[in-house]
Symmetry: C4
Subunit: 383 residues, 4 copies
């Protein structure tokens, strides 16, 4: 199968599965525990039905919008995802370039495998950096300064990972810290020699942004991840978000909340936006799908914050539903990682192109020309 034959995200996912050793694919794909939230994230979209309007002038569909102060060609953000080099040796640089090419906003994860300065040098498009508040506030402050120097447009504070989620696929496959290989997982690596070759040639999986903090002798991925985990502060609170907002003094999005109450706290803390998210179903299993949380959050803080919906998006029409419910934009993770695994930068571009075409097609058939025109009248609950 070739990229050009991928006509939707589902086929791109199949291509990615074929290209990756199984434990690596499972790391990409899996969610926490019974994966109820993971599955629900996408399924929840089906419970909203689109209500088209007919005989409207749809000659020029314009999906352009402004999010976090960035002008985007369409209302899509690429979520911060860790360890992207696992999926393709071009890693974050490829994703950032594809995002810029597609007119979307790129987010770089703190646990990325490319230095934030290198990403900034490689891509001219709008960029956001995903940050944690570490025990060592100095480390966080250092990141703020580096982001400012590298001209990042926005910061994204992730708040749903005070500890790691219970991802059982990784425990079965041995993709844990430290890794623990089984006969089955070794076999899967063995039959993907191209993957191994690329890994060796491109210097492995260094967590590039934090590696300098670890003693040179221990700069293996495992040690760095252990260092990062040890740095997570389980005591942080909304005051720390306020501190970060002041420190950064620019567009700040709080990522990983699901309730109106938390969204109000985010607004009070000085954030410009909230990313409604359950971390792709990878943290606490059994929480609601983000799309089901948009309406109450929009009611509560829609006039104070931009709302971004993150999780479960596999179709252009999903973006439309989220916008009709009150979101300003959607953020996608697995769809672009499928593209990355399937074909590096070209794969990411193809994934974005698919979603964009689907969204434009759906807008036309919905009789709606601009993202901003989408509203509650375009949806109804199913049944």
């Amino acid at each position: 199968m070739k990229l050009s034959r991928c006509h939707n995200i589902a086929t791109m996912r199949r291509l990615a599965r074929r290209r990756l050793p199984r434990p690596v694919f499972d790391y990409l794909e899996g969610g926490a525990e019974d994966e109820i939230s993971l599955e629900r994230n996408t399924a929840a979209f089906d419970e909203y039905e689109l209500l088209p309007t007919c005989l409207r002038d749809i000659a020029e569909i314009d999906l352009g919008t402004e999010v976090l102060g960035c002008r985007l060609r369409w209302p899509v953000i690429l979520s911060p995802t860790g360890m992207s080099r696992l999926f393709h040796h071009q890693a974050e640089t490829a994703v950032a370039r594809a995002a810029a090419g597609a007119g979307a906003l790129y987010s770089l994860s703190t646990v990325a495998t490319t230095r934030l300065e290198d990403v900034a040098a490689a891509s001219t498009g709008p960029k956001m950096y995903q940050i944690y508040i570490f025990k060592d506030r100095g480390l966080t402050a250092e990141f703020v300064q580096r982001c400012r120097d590298a001209a990042y447009d926005a910061l994204c504070l992730t708040v749903d990972t005070p500890i790691a989620g219970n991802r059982e696929r990784d425990r079965v496959s041995g993709m844990t810290i430290p890794p623990r290989f089984t006969f089955k997982s070794l076999f899967s690596f063995a039959v993907h020699p191209r993957w191994w070759l690329n890994v060796l040639r491109h210097g492995g999986f260094e967590l590039a942004n934090v590696a300098h903090r670890v003693e040179p002798l221990a700069r293996k991925t495992v040690s760095v991840i252990e260092y990062v985990n040890a740095q997570f502060d389980r005591r942080i609170g909304w005051r720390d978000a306020e501190w970060l907002a002041r420190e950064w003094d620019g567009p700040l999005v709080i990522k990983g909340l699901l309730t109106a109450a938390d969204a109000r706290l985010a607004a009070d803390s000085g954030a410009s936006a909230v990313m409604v998210s359950n971390h792709g179903g990878r943290q606490l299993d059994g929480v609601p799908a983000p799309v089901d949380c948009i309406a109450p959050i929009a009611d509560a803080v829609g006039d104070r914050l931009e709302i971004i919906c993150d999780g479960g998006i596999r179709r252009g029409s999903h973006v439309i539903k989220a916008l009709a419910l009150g979101a300003r934009a959607c953020s996608i993770g697995r769809p672009y990682l499928y593209g990355l695994a399937a074909g590096g930068e070209a794969g990411v571009l193809r994934a974005l192109e698919i979603l964009r075409q689907e969204m434009e097609n759906a807008m036309a058939l919905l009789g709606c020309r601009r993202s901003a025109d989408l509203g509650a009248g375009h949806l109804r609950a199913r049944g």
Copy 2:
């Protein structure tokens, strides 16, 4: 399996699948994207339960009705469907004749493979022509005149196709414009030699009604479809519907809307009827099933317009449910195409006979003699 052994639409569908190359069957069968609306169109009927009345005189069931000024023996319309010669070399002529024989209203598509004048000559029954408003209003006006000359009873303006839907089965099988064959699809064509022979003998798939507009040298199906697509005007609005209503000055049905708001606009524009439809799930995926939209539309415009339900009908009892919800008639597409593929005119007749027998049987068991007696009291929401 023979036609006489087909005792319901589902078995007729299986027979059709056996007779057609797989890409052709998929073109007939498929819907847009995840085919959620396609599946829902039929499944939605099951959520209404029929409430019979007992010990009523049902000696003479009379399903006769008047739709769009045409007297019909039962409240069924054959939806306009494109490219029917793909399914059987007798094509639209066979369907129109079977419809006339069964006392139903036939609709001819603009992208049919038989000239509208030839259909009119071949069939004495009530007929409707499905029209588009093209960029070139003159082309539309030309069709209006030809329909008047050929004594068509009604016009049907399709409004849910400002652009083509995203039908993924066709993209996988290569049934796109231009076609793109895969090894798999070629094999499927190869094992259906009778289908090929008939195609060759009967002059292929010329879009007979518009072919004269294309330069003679380019009169291949592909060029004609490309011409038609290029003719679609993405700027048309309700004023154009008004213009068409005046131009035609006869029974006009607006096909492809799903909301009360659009139905009101249709009434205001001078239409006589609306066909509640999502294009058989082939345009925008995720929209409601037509049967679920009847009641609100009947509430809004039931006194001003006739309401026709199009989509998902596979049983006589489905027609009854739609009528009890407020429809005047139902329109069917795939059921008669299965018949056409299974056995030409005889197959279409058999499909109509099955639905008619099922409907009469259900009317008798419901204790109801006339279509017009069906009402909200004969239904309840399930559960």
Copy 3:
């Protein structure tokens, strides 16, 4: 598998399926069209949850009740079913004897294969005769007189069969009138020689109660069924029910209605009871499950009529749920036919014993001693 190993109705069903040629089993098992009502009849019970009461004296469970003037040991009726000799050569006599042995009320069908006088002679238990109103009212009056002479306790007028239902399994298997065998069905008969031997030895399938009306030369089953069908009067109405009530002047149950409106008409016509039924899902597909119709009917006529729930019962707890909703008794069909096919009279007894034991067990665990104590407080809608 032996009868004693059948510990529930589901295993008894499997035993019956093994003993019968497939077309015969399908005739027993099948419903109309898509079998939605057939499946729903049983599934609907699961949507009611039982609410037990604890620490109640349940030393003596007494299921006894009075239905249609008959004292029964438990609130169960054996529904009238046609052609029972197809399932076992002991036919209706065996069923009537088993019912008497189990303290349940037996109903004999007009299209039975045993004369009503012979059943009366063979069984001392309470008995009901199921009657149709034929075109020839004299034939109906003749039956009334014969029932009176044979000391039947009650009459049952079936009102949901003005015409035959559309049972597709029978059309596929050839179990139609006249039969039409396929290679597959003939094979199935061939591998059940014991079934054939018994059929030959016991005189086939004469419709014993009406056969004398047909010319001697034509007294084949097929001719008799055709005669019966020809006798059905599609014009009968509630006045005919009134006429029958006067004619019989004893306990009369109207069988086959599902709405409060029809139940009111039944009460007005002089009936003593209604049997809420959709003919085991064999007539109009898509109607509600009987258990879902009890409550509205009990609200409407609970003070004027006894309510009997017929359809879907496979567990003793199903009977309890129907009673808690307002039924006086339940009527079962397939469960005893499985028993009949599995082992004649002993099989019917086993089926009844299973249901009775299940019901007693459930009553004890519910903390309820008498059928009459069951009420709305013992149930709640699921979820």
Copy 4:
């Protein structure tokens, strides 16, 4: 598979299934009749969605609570289960020790295979004894005295077993009283020789707590179970519960009720707590899942009684949901029996460790530090 590879209760269940002869596993696993309540017990948890709160200090999660006067390290009770020696020769002693090690409350069943005094001698942790009110009140009084002497902390009166439930798996496999082996079940025993060896070496399945009441010559398991069954009093009522409360004069929990009405009676009778339970789906099939009954019971008696939820728990997050609905603690049965079958005391410890880790993880991700802080705000009904 080894214990350390069991990362959730589902994998531990698979390990248990491999270690036990099938009839024994089915005895552990099975429920009554169609096992609707059994399956619903767990599935019902999925219909509640967790609502996390972000950026809360979760440095120190403290799950400690007080139940029935016992200080526990986390809000979990091990339900009383009969015949544990069937699953592992270490039997109840192993379970009690593991419970003590894990800081949970252990409950010993009257139909245990270890004497209550021996369990008390072996375990220093908090303990509860599950008691029945027998026909012979003297036998019950004897147990009360023995429990007092052995320093049990609480009594648990089971009220949902006035008679045995209809467990069909046991009837199929022959695990009935007396046992009735089939060829299939004997084969299953034969291929588990280690299980047999342990059974023979450790003295079989004596019901240790009641065996002394049976004549020495008849002290086989079968006779003892028959004796116990014969002792069940079907006439007991709430007055007997009052009598027991006075007799014991200590913490008493009524186990096996599902309604607010019965919970009020329990409070009036002098109980300290209710265990909302349907006996793991093993008694009356079709009753609600316990988790669905917590809220109405908490409304009715939440201020007078501690509420314990028993049934269906397979994840730490299930405990959290029950607590958020109003329960003080959860009681688990099958999860620890899987552990016992999989690896004796070590297996039970592993099962408890899994649930505990899952619960701590979920509490952290929920942003909640203490069990007592869980409330209605942490949940919403799905969809």
